[in-house]
Protein backbone atom coordinates (compact mmCIF):
# COMPACT_ATOMS: atom_id res chain seq x y z
CA UNK A 1 0.00 0.00 0.00
CA UNK A 2 1.08 3.59 -0.44
CA UNK A 3 -0.07 6.99 0.81
CA UNK A 4 -0.37 9.80 -1.73
CA UNK A 5 1.52 12.56 0.02
CA UNK A 6 -0.14 15.22 -2.13
CA UNK A 7 -3.54 14.11 -0.80
CA UNK A 8 -2.68 13.14 2.81
CA UNK A 9 -3.66 15.75 5.41
CA UNK A 10 -1.42 14.26 8.09
CA UNK A 11 -4.21 13.41 10.55
CA UNK A 12 -2.51 10.10 11.44
CA UNK A 13 -5.79 8.23 11.88
CA UNK A 14 -4.56 5.36 9.69
CA UNK A 15 -1.43 4.70 11.72
CA UNK A 16 -2.81 2.56 14.57
CA UNK A 17 -4.78 0.42 12.10
CA UNK A 18 -1.67 -1.14 10.53
CA UNK A 19 -1.04 -4.65 11.99
CA UNK A 20 2.58 -4.40 10.82
CA UNK A 21 3.13 -0.97 12.40
CA UNK A 22 4.38 0.18 8.99
CA UNK A 23 2.69 3.61 8.82
CA UNK A 24 4.66 6.56 10.20
CA UNK A 25 4.98 10.33 9.95
CA UNK A 26 7.31 11.81 7.36
CA UNK A 27 7.27 15.57 6.79
CA UNK A 28 3.99 15.84 8.74
CA UNK A 29 2.27 13.35 6.38
CA UNK A 30 1.67 9.62 6.80
CA UNK A 31 3.95 7.31 4.85
CA UNK A 32 4.17 3.52 4.56
CA UNK A 33 7.45 1.66 5.05
CA UNK A 34 7.44 -0.61 1.97
CA UNK A 35 9.78 -3.10 3.60
CA UNK A 36 7.58 -3.50 6.68
CA UNK A 37 4.22 -3.47 4.81
CA UNK A 38 2.70 -6.94 4.33
CA UNK A 39 0.10 -5.69 1.83
CA UNK A 40 -2.72 -6.97 4.06
CA UNK A 41 -4.90 -4.04 2.97
CA UNK A 42 -6.28 -3.32 6.46
CA UNK A 43 -5.59 0.42 6.16
CA UNK A 44 -7.58 0.64 2.92
CA UNK A 45 -10.44 -1.68 3.90
CA UNK A 46 -10.99 0.16 7.18
CA UNK A 47 -11.92 3.29 5.17
CA UNK A 48 -10.36 5.34 7.93
CA UNK A 49 -8.64 7.90 5.66
CA UNK A 50 -10.86 11.00 5.44
CA UNK A 51 -9.41 12.07 2.09
CA UNK A 52 -8.81 8.76 0.30
CA UNK A 53 -5.02 9.09 0.31
CA UNK A 54 -4.34 5.37 0.85
CA UNK A 55 -4.18 3.36 -2.38
CA UNK A 56 -3.10 -0.04 -3.60
CA UNK A 57 -0.49 0.46 -6.33
CA UNK A 58 -0.20 -2.01 -9.26
CA UNK A 59 3.21 -3.30 -8.12
CA UNK A 60 1.48 -5.12 -5.26
CA UNK A 61 0.53 -7.83 -7.76
CA UNK A 62 3.97 -8.22 -9.29
CA UNK A 63 5.96 -11.35 -8.47
CA UNK A 64 7.50 -11.86 -5.90
CA UNK A 65 5.90 -9.00 -3.93
CA UNK A 66 2.50 -10.48 -4.78
CA UNK A 67 3.24 -13.20 -2.23
CA UNK A 68 2.81 -10.60 0.51
CA UNK A 69 -0.69 -9.93 -0.74
CA UNK A 70 -1.68 -13.60 -1.14
CA UNK A 71 -0.40 -14.59 2.30
CA UNK A 72 -1.44 -11.49 4.22
CA UNK A 73 -4.74 -10.24 2.79
CA UNK A 74 -7.57 -12.63 3.68
CA UNK A 75 -9.77 -11.07 1.00
CA UNK A 76 -7.37 -12.04 -1.78
CA UNK A 77 -7.56 -15.44 -3.44
CA UNK A 78 -4.29 -17.32 -3.65
CA UNK A 79 -3.21 -17.87 -7.26
CA UNK A 80 -2.29 -21.52 -6.61
CA UNK A 81 -4.97 -22.86 -4.27
CA UNK A 82 -7.89 -20.71 -5.36
CA UNK A 83 -8.74 -20.37 -1.67
CA UNK A 84 -9.02 -17.10 0.20
CA UNK A 85 -6.51 -16.98 3.03
CA UNK A 86 -3.21 -18.65 3.71
CA UNK A 87 -3.87 -22.35 4.09
CA UNK A 88 -6.26 -24.95 2.75
CA UNK A 89 -9.55 -26.10 4.20
CA UNK A 90 -7.88 -28.37 6.81
CA UNK A 91 -10.25 -29.77 9.43
CA UNK A 92 -13.23 -27.59 8.52
CA UNK A 93 -14.54 -29.96 5.85
CA UNK A 94 -12.94 -33.20 7.01
CA UNK A 95 -16.38 -34.77 7.56
CA UNK A 96 -16.88 -34.81 3.77
CA UNK A 97 -13.32 -34.78 2.38
CA UNK A 98 -11.70 -37.19 4.85
CA UNK A 99 -8.39 -35.50 4.10
CA UNK A 100 -7.39 -36.58 7.59
CA UNK A 101 -8.86 -40.12 7.65
CA UNK A 102 -8.97 -42.61 10.54
CA UNK A 103 -5.45 -43.56 11.65
CA UNK A 104 -3.90 -40.36 10.40
CA UNK A 105 -3.04 -36.99 11.92
CA UNK A 106 -2.75 -33.51 10.46
CA UNK A 107 -0.25 -30.94 11.67
CA UNK A 108 -0.40 -27.24 10.82
CA UNK A 109 2.44 -24.85 11.56
CA UNK A 110 0.93 -21.36 11.38
CA UNK A 111 3.97 -19.18 10.84
CA UNK A 112 3.98 -15.54 11.90
CA UNK A 113 0.85 -15.88 14.00
CA UNK A 114 -0.29 -14.23 16.10
CA UNK A 115 0.41 -10.73 14.79
CA UNK A 116 4.19 -10.67 14.26
CA UNK A 117 4.48 -11.84 10.66
CA UNK A 118 7.54 -13.60 9.35
CA UNK A 119 10.25 -13.32 6.71
CA UNK A 120 10.40 -16.18 4.23
CA UNK A 121 13.91 -17.03 5.45
CA UNK A 122 12.30 -18.13 8.72
CA UNK A 123 9.83 -20.28 6.81
CA UNK A 124 12.78 -21.87 5.01
CA UNK A 125 14.31 -22.84 8.38
CA UNK A 126 11.20 -24.91 9.05
CA UNK A 127 10.91 -26.44 5.56
CA UNK A 128 14.63 -27.37 5.69
CA UNK A 129 14.27 -28.99 9.11
CA UNK A 130 11.29 -31.00 7.89
CA UNK A 131 13.14 -32.06 4.73
CA UNK A 132 16.28 -33.09 6.63
CA UNK A 133 14.22 -35.18 9.03
CA UNK A 134 12.58 -37.00 6.13
CA UNK A 135 9.21 -35.72 7.32
CA UNK A 136 8.66 -33.36 4.41
CA UNK A 137 5.19 -33.97 3.06
CA UNK A 138 3.56 -30.57 2.74
CA UNK A 139 0.13 -30.86 1.19
CA UNK A 140 0.18 -30.11 -2.57
CA UNK A 141 -2.75 -27.70 -2.20
CA UNK A 142 -0.99 -25.79 0.56
CA UNK A 143 0.28 -22.42 -0.81
CA UNK A 144 3.77 -22.99 0.64
CA UNK A 145 4.13 -26.10 -1.52
CA UNK A 146 4.44 -23.91 -4.61
CA UNK A 147 7.27 -21.89 -2.99
CA UNK A 148 9.57 -24.89 -2.53
CA UNK A 149 12.50 -25.08 -4.96
CA UNK A 150 13.87 -28.43 -3.84
CA UNK A 151 11.71 -30.85 -1.84
CA UNK A 152 14.78 -32.86 -0.81
CA UNK A 153 16.48 -29.93 0.91
CA UNK A 154 13.41 -27.86 1.80
CA UNK A 155 14.95 -24.82 0.08
CA UNK A 156 12.54 -22.12 -1.05
CA UNK A 157 12.84 -20.32 -4.38
CA UNK A 158 15.66 -17.80 -3.82
CA UNK A 159 13.81 -14.81 -5.25
CA UNK A 160 11.25 -15.15 -2.44
CA UNK A 161 13.59 -15.07 0.53
CA UNK A 162 13.53 -11.31 1.12
CA UNK A 163 9.74 -11.16 1.19
CA UNK A 164 7.68 -10.93 4.37
CA UNK A 165 4.19 -12.16 5.04
CA UNK A 166 1.73 -11.69 7.87
CA UNK A 167 1.33 -15.43 8.10
CA UNK A 168 1.59 -18.67 6.17
CA UNK A 169 0.62 -22.18 7.08
CA UNK A 170 2.58 -25.37 6.52
CA UNK A 171 0.11 -28.24 6.54
CA UNK A 172 1.02 -31.90 6.63
CA UNK A 173 -0.96 -35.08 6.93
CA UNK A 174 0.51 -38.49 7.80
CA UNK A 175 -0.05 -41.75 9.67
CA UNK A 176 -0.41 -41.13 13.38
CA UNK A 177 2.63 -43.26 14.22
CA UNK A 178 4.81 -40.50 12.74
CA UNK A 179 3.49 -37.75 15.03
CA UNK A 180 6.35 -38.07 17.58
CA UNK A 181 8.98 -37.57 14.86
CA UNK A 182 7.24 -34.52 13.44
CA UNK A 183 6.87 -32.92 16.87
CA UNK A 184 10.54 -33.61 17.66
CA UNK A 185 11.58 -31.94 14.40
CA UNK A 186 9.43 -28.91 15.13
CA UNK A 187 10.83 -28.66 18.66
CA UNK A 188 14.40 -28.59 17.33
CA UNK A 189 13.75 -25.68 14.95
CA UNK A 190 12.05 -23.44 17.55
CA UNK A 191 15.28 -21.84 18.90
CA UNK A 192 16.40 -20.89 15.37
CA UNK A 193 13.36 -18.72 14.63
CA UNK A 194 13.15 -14.94 14.83
CA UNK A 195 9.37 -14.88 14.74
CA UNK A 196 6.62 -17.09 16.15
CA UNK A 197 4.32 -19.85 15.00
CA UNK A 198 1.28 -21.56 16.38
CA UNK A 199 0.99 -25.31 16.22
CA UNK A 200 -2.15 -27.32 15.47
CA UNK A 201 -2.85 -31.04 15.52
CA UNK A 202 -5.88 -32.40 13.65
CA UNK A 203 -7.41 -35.79 14.39
CA UNK A 204 -10.73 -37.53 13.98
CA UNK A 205 -12.67 -37.89 17.22
CA UNK A 206 -13.98 -40.93 19.04
CA UNK A 207 -17.62 -41.12 20.12
CA UNK A 208 -18.86 -38.17 22.20
CA UNK A 209 -16.10 -35.69 21.33
CA UNK A 210 -13.45 -37.91 22.94
CA UNK A 211 -9.96 -37.05 21.74
CA UNK A 212 -8.00 -40.24 21.03
CA UNK A 213 -5.85 -40.89 24.10
CA UNK A 214 -2.85 -42.08 22.08
CA UNK A 215 -2.67 -38.68 20.33
CA UNK A 216 -2.85 -36.80 23.64
CA UNK A 217 -0.17 -39.08 25.10
CA UNK A 218 2.22 -38.31 22.22
CA UNK A 219 1.62 -34.56 22.53
CA UNK A 220 2.42 -34.69 26.24
CA UNK A 221 5.41 -36.98 25.93
CA UNK A 222 6.99 -34.66 23.32
CA UNK A 223 6.75 -31.73 25.72
CA UNK A 224 3.74 -29.94 24.23
CA UNK A 225 0.32 -29.31 25.73
CA UNK A 226 -3.04 -28.59 24.11
CA UNK A 227 -5.01 -25.48 24.95
CA UNK A 228 -8.58 -25.60 26.33
CA UNK A 229 -10.13 -24.25 23.14
CA UNK A 230 -10.17 -25.97 19.76
CA UNK A 231 -11.89 -26.06 16.40
CA UNK A 232 -14.45 -28.85 16.22
CA UNK A 233 -16.06 -30.18 13.04
CA UNK A 234 -19.57 -31.27 14.02
CA UNK A 235 -19.90 -33.94 11.33
CA UNK A 236 -23.04 -32.47 9.76
CA UNK A 237 -21.68 -32.39 6.19
CA UNK A 238 -22.57 -34.80 3.35
CA UNK A 239 -21.04 -35.56 -0.04
CA UNK A 240 -23.50 -34.59 -2.77
CA UNK A 241 -21.31 -34.33 -5.88
Amino acid sequence: MIVYKEVCVGCGRCQPYCPAGAIFYEDHKSAIDQEACYECGTCLRSEICPVGAIVEPPHVYEYPRALRKYFSDPTSTHAVTGIQGRGTEESKTNDVTLRCPPGSVGVAIEIGRPTLGMGLRDIQKITRALAQSGEYEIEPNNPIHSMILNPETGDLKPELLDEKVLSAIIEMQFEKERLPGILQTIKKVIPQLDSVFTLDVVTMLDEGLSIPQDILDVIKSEGFMWRPNAKINLGLGRVTE
Partner: protein, 215 residues
Amino acid sequence: MTHSLHREGKIESLEKDYAVFIYPARGYNYKGSAPKVRRLVEIVYQVGPANMIATTLRKNLYSGVEPEAVLDSIKEGCRVFTVFNSRDKIRDLLKNLKEADQGISIVVSGLIDRVRDIAAEVGINPHTINLSLGIHGGTEKLPPADIRQFTTMCGHAMISPKLVQDVIRRVKTGKVDSWKGSMILANPCACGIYNPHRSQEMLEDLSPLYTVSRW
Protein backbone atom coordinates in the same frame (compact mmCIF):
# COMPACT_ATOMS: atom_id res chain seq x y z
CA MET B 1 -8.11 -20.45 7.39
CA THR B 2 -9.10 -18.65 10.55
CA HIS B 3 -7.10 -18.75 13.72
CA SER B 4 -9.99 -19.15 16.10
CA LEU B 5 -8.56 -22.08 18.05
CA HIS B 6 -5.77 -19.79 19.30
CA ARG B 7 -8.06 -17.17 20.84
CA GLU B 8 -6.61 -16.08 24.16
CA GLY B 9 -8.11 -14.80 27.38
CA LYS B 10 -9.54 -15.89 30.69
CA ILE B 11 -11.61 -19.08 30.71
CA GLU B 12 -14.65 -17.19 32.03
CA SER B 13 -14.32 -14.84 29.06
CA LEU B 14 -13.83 -17.64 26.51
CA GLU B 15 -16.98 -19.25 27.88
CA LYS B 16 -18.88 -16.41 26.18
CA ASP B 17 -17.21 -16.83 22.81
CA TYR B 18 -18.06 -19.45 20.16
CA ALA B 19 -17.03 -19.00 16.53
CA VAL B 20 -19.03 -20.97 13.95
CA PHE B 21 -18.07 -21.72 10.35
CA ILE B 22 -20.40 -22.86 7.56
CA TYR B 23 -18.19 -24.41 4.94
CA PRO B 24 -19.12 -26.03 1.60
CA ALA B 25 -16.25 -28.17 0.25
CA ARG B 26 -15.08 -27.73 -3.32
CA GLY B 27 -15.63 -31.01 -5.22
CA TYR B 28 -17.79 -32.57 -2.49
CA ASN B 29 -20.89 -30.45 -1.83
CA TYR B 30 -20.03 -27.15 -3.47
CA LYS B 31 -22.50 -27.39 -6.36
CA GLY B 32 -25.98 -26.45 -5.25
CA SER B 33 -24.73 -25.16 -1.90
CA ALA B 34 -26.12 -21.60 -2.18
CA PRO B 35 -29.72 -22.26 -1.04
CA LYS B 36 -28.48 -24.56 1.73
CA VAL B 37 -26.04 -21.96 3.07
CA ARG B 38 -28.75 -19.30 2.81
CA ARG B 39 -31.07 -21.48 4.92
CA LEU B 40 -28.33 -21.97 7.51
CA VAL B 41 -27.66 -18.22 7.64
CA GLU B 42 -31.36 -17.58 8.22
CA ILE B 43 -31.09 -19.87 11.25
CA VAL B 44 -27.99 -17.98 12.41
CA TYR B 45 -29.95 -14.72 12.24
CA GLN B 46 -32.89 -16.19 14.17
CA VAL B 47 -30.59 -17.07 17.07
CA GLY B 48 -28.79 -13.71 17.04
CA PRO B 49 -25.08 -13.66 16.15
CA ALA B 50 -22.57 -11.33 17.79
CA ASN B 51 -20.89 -10.87 14.41
CA MET B 52 -20.89 -12.47 10.97
CA ILE B 53 -19.35 -12.35 7.54
CA ALA B 54 -19.99 -13.99 4.19
CA THR B 55 -16.91 -14.61 2.08
CA THR B 56 -18.70 -13.04 -0.87
CA LEU B 57 -18.76 -9.67 0.94
CA ARG B 58 -15.78 -9.72 3.30
CA LYS B 59 -17.34 -7.04 5.46
CA ASN B 60 -18.55 -7.90 8.93
CA LEU B 61 -21.67 -6.61 10.66
CA TYR B 62 -19.63 -3.75 12.17
CA SER B 63 -17.96 -2.60 8.98
CA GLY B 64 -21.00 -1.29 7.20
CA VAL B 65 -23.05 -4.22 5.92
CA GLU B 66 -26.72 -4.94 6.59
CA PRO B 67 -27.97 -8.48 7.37
CA GLU B 68 -30.08 -8.45 4.19
CA ALA B 69 -26.96 -7.74 2.16
CA VAL B 70 -25.28 -10.81 3.62
CA LEU B 71 -28.22 -13.03 2.65
CA ASP B 72 -28.44 -11.50 -0.82
CA SER B 73 -24.73 -12.02 -1.42
CA ILE B 74 -24.74 -15.77 -0.85
CA LYS B 75 -23.90 -17.68 -3.99
CA GLU B 76 -22.40 -21.06 -4.91
CA GLY B 77 -19.55 -22.02 -2.56
CA CYS B 78 -20.03 -19.05 -0.23
CA ARG B 79 -18.68 -19.68 3.25
CA VAL B 80 -20.05 -17.93 6.32
CA PHE B 81 -18.18 -17.21 9.53
CA THR B 82 -20.03 -16.07 12.63
CA VAL B 83 -19.64 -15.79 16.40
CA PHE B 84 -21.99 -16.13 19.37
CA ASN B 85 -21.60 -14.73 22.84
CA SER B 86 -23.48 -17.15 25.09
CA ARG B 87 -23.78 -20.84 25.79
CA ASP B 88 -27.56 -20.71 25.42
CA LYS B 89 -27.32 -19.18 21.97
CA ILE B 90 -24.80 -21.70 20.70
CA ARG B 91 -26.91 -24.55 22.05
CA ASP B 92 -30.02 -23.20 20.29
CA LEU B 93 -28.03 -22.67 17.12
CA LEU B 94 -26.58 -26.19 17.01
CA LYS B 95 -29.99 -27.72 17.74
CA ASN B 96 -31.56 -25.77 14.87
CA LEU B 97 -28.68 -26.42 12.47
CA LYS B 98 -28.90 -30.14 13.14
CA GLU B 99 -32.65 -30.16 12.55
CA ALA B 100 -32.21 -28.19 9.31
CA ASP B 101 -29.93 -31.00 8.03
CA GLN B 102 -28.54 -29.16 5.01
CA GLY B 103 -25.48 -31.44 4.63
CA ILE B 104 -22.93 -28.58 4.76
CA SER B 105 -19.90 -28.85 7.07
CA ILE B 106 -20.25 -26.83 10.26
CA VAL B 107 -17.43 -26.15 12.68
CA VAL B 108 -17.58 -24.69 16.19
CA SER B 109 -14.52 -23.13 17.75
CA GLY B 110 -14.60 -22.76 21.51
CA LEU B 111 -13.77 -24.39 24.82
CA ILE B 112 -13.61 -28.14 24.20
CA ASP B 113 -15.42 -29.10 27.41
CA ARG B 114 -18.29 -26.70 26.76
CA VAL B 115 -18.71 -27.77 23.12
CA ARG B 116 -18.67 -31.43 24.25
CA ASP B 117 -21.49 -30.78 26.72
CA ILE B 118 -23.56 -28.80 24.24
CA ALA B 119 -23.09 -31.35 21.45
CA ALA B 120 -24.23 -34.13 23.77
CA GLU B 121 -27.22 -32.04 24.84
CA VAL B 122 -28.44 -31.55 21.26
CA GLY B 123 -27.49 -35.03 20.02
CA ILE B 124 -24.54 -34.20 17.76
CA ASN B 125 -21.53 -36.52 17.55
CA PRO B 126 -18.57 -34.35 16.43
CA HIS B 127 -16.26 -35.72 13.73
CA THR B 128 -12.84 -34.01 13.83
CA ILE B 129 -10.90 -31.75 16.16
CA ASN B 130 -8.18 -29.21 15.46
CA LEU B 131 -6.19 -28.83 18.69
CA SER B 132 -4.06 -25.79 19.49
CA LEU B 133 -0.62 -26.61 20.86
CA GLY B 134 0.08 -22.95 21.58
CA ILE B 135 2.56 -20.31 20.40
CA HIS B 136 6.26 -21.08 19.94
CA GLY B 137 9.43 -19.28 18.83
CA GLY B 138 10.27 -15.67 19.65
CA THR B 139 7.30 -15.19 21.94
CA GLU B 140 9.09 -12.39 23.82
CA LYS B 141 8.42 -10.18 20.76
CA LEU B 142 4.65 -10.63 21.00
CA PRO B 143 2.40 -7.90 22.35
CA PRO B 144 1.37 -8.56 25.97
CA ALA B 145 -1.32 -11.12 26.72
CA ASP B 146 -3.93 -8.50 27.67
CA ILE B 147 -3.60 -7.02 24.16
CA ARG B 148 -3.49 -10.44 22.45
CA GLN B 149 -6.87 -11.36 23.91
CA PHE B 150 -8.27 -8.67 21.56
CA THR B 151 -6.03 -9.23 18.54
CA THR B 152 -6.54 -13.01 18.47
CA MET B 153 -10.29 -12.50 18.12
CA CYS B 154 -9.70 -11.70 14.46
CA GLY B 155 -8.74 -14.98 12.89
CA HIS B 156 -6.56 -13.27 10.29
CA ALA B 157 -4.67 -10.91 12.63
CA MET B 158 -6.16 -7.77 11.09
CA ILE B 159 -6.67 -6.09 14.48
CA SER B 160 -3.50 -4.16 15.16
CA PRO B 161 -2.09 -4.16 18.72
CA LYS B 162 -1.62 -0.39 18.34
CA LEU B 163 -5.31 0.01 17.55
CA VAL B 164 -6.20 -1.90 20.72
CA GLN B 165 -3.95 0.39 22.75
CA ASP B 166 -5.42 3.43 21.02
CA VAL B 167 -8.97 2.33 21.79
CA ILE B 168 -8.13 1.58 25.43
CA ARG B 169 -6.74 5.13 25.63
CA ARG B 170 -9.90 6.57 24.06
CA VAL B 171 -12.15 4.62 26.44
CA LYS B 172 -9.98 5.57 29.40
CA THR B 173 -10.14 9.26 28.51
CA GLY B 174 -13.89 9.19 27.83
CA LYS B 175 -13.61 9.94 24.11
CA VAL B 176 -15.64 6.83 23.28
CA ASP B 177 -17.64 4.43 25.42
CA SER B 178 -16.71 0.75 25.66
CA TRP B 179 -19.28 -0.36 23.04
CA LYS B 180 -18.21 2.25 20.51
CA GLY B 181 -14.60 1.33 21.19
CA SER B 182 -15.45 -2.30 20.64
CA MET B 183 -17.04 -1.53 17.27
CA ILE B 184 -13.92 0.40 16.23
CA LEU B 185 -11.92 -2.74 16.95
CA ALA B 186 -14.39 -4.99 15.14
CA ASN B 187 -14.27 -2.92 11.94
CA PRO B 188 -10.98 -4.23 10.45
CA CYS B 189 -11.85 -7.90 11.08
CA ALA B 190 -12.11 -9.56 7.67
CA CYS B 191 -13.22 -12.96 8.98
CA GLY B 192 -16.32 -11.83 10.90
CA ILE B 193 -15.54 -13.62 14.15
CA TYR B 194 -14.41 -10.64 16.22
CA ASN B 195 -16.80 -10.76 19.19
CA PRO B 196 -17.63 -7.14 20.13
CA HIS B 197 -19.61 -8.14 23.22
CA ARG B 198 -16.62 -9.95 24.68
CA SER B 199 -14.40 -7.10 23.57
CA GLN B 200 -16.62 -4.58 25.37
CA GLU B 201 -16.30 -6.49 28.63
CA MET B 202 -12.53 -6.69 28.20
CA LEU B 203 -12.29 -2.95 27.55
CA GLU B 204 -14.26 -2.25 30.71
CA ASP B 205 -11.96 -4.58 32.63
CA LEU B 206 -8.75 -3.14 31.23
CA SER B 207 -9.25 0.58 30.85
CA PRO B 208 -9.14 1.36 34.60
CA LEU B 209 -5.79 -0.42 34.84
CA TYR B 210 -4.08 1.52 32.04
CA THR B 211 -2.20 4.79 32.40
CA VAL B 212 -2.14 7.09 29.39
CA SER B 213 0.48 9.60 28.37
CA ARG B 214 -1.49 11.30 25.58
CA TRP B 215 -4.95 12.75 26.18
